[in-house]
Symmetry: C2
Subunit: 401 residues, 2 copies
């Protein structure tokens, strides 16, 4: 049980200036700012900082990061299959265990205000379930800093990799929260076979689904519509997400409309990280069509990309910049991609700044949501379940494994 | 004359660890690290930070920024003409003079390591030469922090705006270093008439040219080829740049090749800021074709965009991210867009870390250029002409007007 604490002079996104009374890990009360603190209650003055709920990273790869190692030059490679091969080569040479790399990344993202995340973990013929076991330990060690959801991710395919389907099933039985997928057409060349395995596990084990889909154009959109159909047929609406879905960014308006409508109806969510060089799901048009769009860091200094730092407020800026989200309400939408939307997708039931909510929050020195997104300044304070875990961008609650 | 100073334990981009002896505003000598400092020489330990020459911002709008004012919500508007109109409306309401806004921006970019920049300044029927006069004062006041080159920029057109040609000419006579242009086809609807004015002023006054070109596709590329032809005809090769040139990002390979070759032959440089939502000049392909490509911030929290912070190392990251520059040598190319390339375009004769060079430099806590670009960490130290002007991201040499 954490002691009672008063976060004084917080400004909420609606402009109200309040004192936030935190007790037993929850927001006990929101008072009009300026009330004297109760005797014995620790008081932290936020000096007018904007307070938002903890950032949520909807797509991270904790097992892939090379953080903690000296900078490793990027190995070029174009296709997904080439990148998978390059990653395996690199992984064989790594001496630092997955837990050590992953915990560094959790510490880094927690310091920037991420209090919940969905991490994919590679399940393949090389690492088998080792990565999962590492991340299960990290999830436990990091409980005081962030909630970690784990997706068993077939980075080397399912249909084309003997034993993969069984390993994915085993991963879910051993603690993975969701089952993943990868380019049913472009990587595995068998859309139905790939989806049979994933949806089979999801239905059998009662878990959700999150599929990586890089396939472009009409191919990718046809897969999206098939995923939507199977989601409805399985009664999994609201528990299925597709990550990347570049295809939504390079089809004509007719096919886009058709596909967006299918996703909305089936309640399939779309994750975009605002990828740099490729077509991108158009955020505003998807949201207007009723699709839940959320964001995540994706790769952070790993074999797939040297870029990335795990800051979800900077990510909101990047996705907003790529989508020309500029008016204040558009920048609020950008922030929503890193807060409300992924919270909903991750199934975080109690989320937000309100009485009785878990005290997972971030204080940002900015005058408004719009300013917070475009400037993404160093976070003043991060709180997880009522405990201050970071101040001025630095972790103050040690995290180790 | 600045005193003698030793920057100890610097790491250069080639990996050498050196002590940099700074004297009279220049790099007097590079010693193997670890030599004892001379008696009386101040010593700053850089602790292995990477030292690069001062960052150069090839495209900034010092007069447009709203820095120093409370955050002003973005006014939506699609076309260039709509944005010009929205900006004029906003500008009429501004109470803070251009010098006050611009000097704040210079201070901000100097703190992040920009020691030279090219700023456009609006010349139109509303502000006339007022913006120029403001920036001339800023240029003078900021001499100890950054070298500022000024482009007289016809933001409201030339052919379509009575008096604009004369004002541009007057601006150059009063101190602008270059003459600018704006979408000869898309905005002014008279390519030859627009270019006649610009090239006329450039030849008459002996100044360079920097043209904003947002026109897409074959229209934009035909303008680029016409600019190349006129550059050669005027003998202005090496002194003409085109900013944005989105068109290079959305034509077929044949027209791209033709246009790139024309630009290379005529020595017309291309500026890209890695714009978010629009097609972008492909950096690697242009460089491979022999075109000088450089980068700049463009808009920084102004009527055109709420985004931007003026950090040219972050800009190098963004342009690299948009162009998928990932291997170490590609990330070195990304840094070059913010250092060597704009230095060449701006005509900075003595540039680089070497004996006898001006002591304009930046120390970055990173192990390599690649790491510096992807992480763009807070600068450890910024030096302009031998004087430390910023440390740990904060300006230590006051700048005011």
């Amino acid at each position: 049980m954490t002691p009672s604490l008063l976060l004084a002079n917080a400004v909420l996104t609606d402009g109200r200036r309040v004192d936030i009374h935190v007790k037993n890990g929850e927001i006990a009360a929101l008072h009009v700012a300026g009330q004297p603190a109760n005797h014995g209650t620790e008081r932290i003055d936020l000096d007018g900082a904007l307070v938002i709920p903890g950032l949520v990273d909807g797509h991270i790869h904790l097992d892939k990061t090379l953080l903690g190692l000296p900078f490793i030059p990027h190995i070029p490679g174009g296709s997904v299959a080439e990148r998978v091969a390059a990653e395996k080569t690199l992984r064989r040479s790594l001496t630092m265990p997955v837990e050590q790399r992953a915990i560094r990344l959790v510490a880094q993202v927690a310091a920037s205000g991420t209090t919940a995340m969905r991490s994919h973990v590679d399940i393949d013929d090389l690492v088998k379930l080792d990565g999962l076991h590492g991340l299960l330990r990290v999830r436990e060690a990091a409980r005081g800093h962030a909630d970690i959801q784990i997706v068993a991710f077939p980075q080397s395919g399912i249909v084309t990799l003997p034993g993969a389907a069984d390993m994915l099933d085993q991963a879910v039985r051993e603690g993975a929260d969701l089952v993943g997928g990868l380019d049913p057409a472009g990587f595995d060349h068998d859309v139905e076979g790939h989806l049979d395995v994933i949806f089979g596990i999801a239905e059998r084990r009662g878990v959700g689904i999150d599929i990586h889909l890089h396939d472009f154009g009409s191919l990718g959109c046809s897969e999206l519509r098939r995923i939507a159909e199977r989601t409805t047929a399985s009664g999994l609406g609201g528990r299925v997400a597709v990550s990347h879905a570049y295809a939504l960014g390079n089809v004509d308006d007719g096919e886009f409309g058709l596909t967006a409508e299918a996703l909305a109806r089936a309640q399939v969510a779309i994750m975009t990280n605002g990828a740099g060089p490729v077509p991108m799901p158009p955020v505003k048009r998807l949201v207007a069509a009723g699709v839940t769009v959320f964001s995540g860091s994706d790769n952070i200094r790993d074999a797939w990309s040297p870029y990335g730092n795990g800051d979800m407020l900077e990510r909101a800026m990047l996705v907003g910049y790529r989508n020309e989200l500029s008016a204040d309400e558009e920048l609020e939408l950008a922030l929503g991609l890193a807060t409300d939307a992924p919270a909903k997708v991750l199934g975080i039931a109690r989320y937000g700044i309100g009485e009785g909510m878990p005290a997972d929050l971030v204080a940002i020195p900015a005058g408004s949501v719009a300013e917070a997104v475009v400037n993404h300044p160093t976070r003043k304070l991060v709180m997880k379940r009522g405990r201050v875990i970071a101040q001025d961008g630095r972790l103050v609650a040690p995290l180790c494994i």
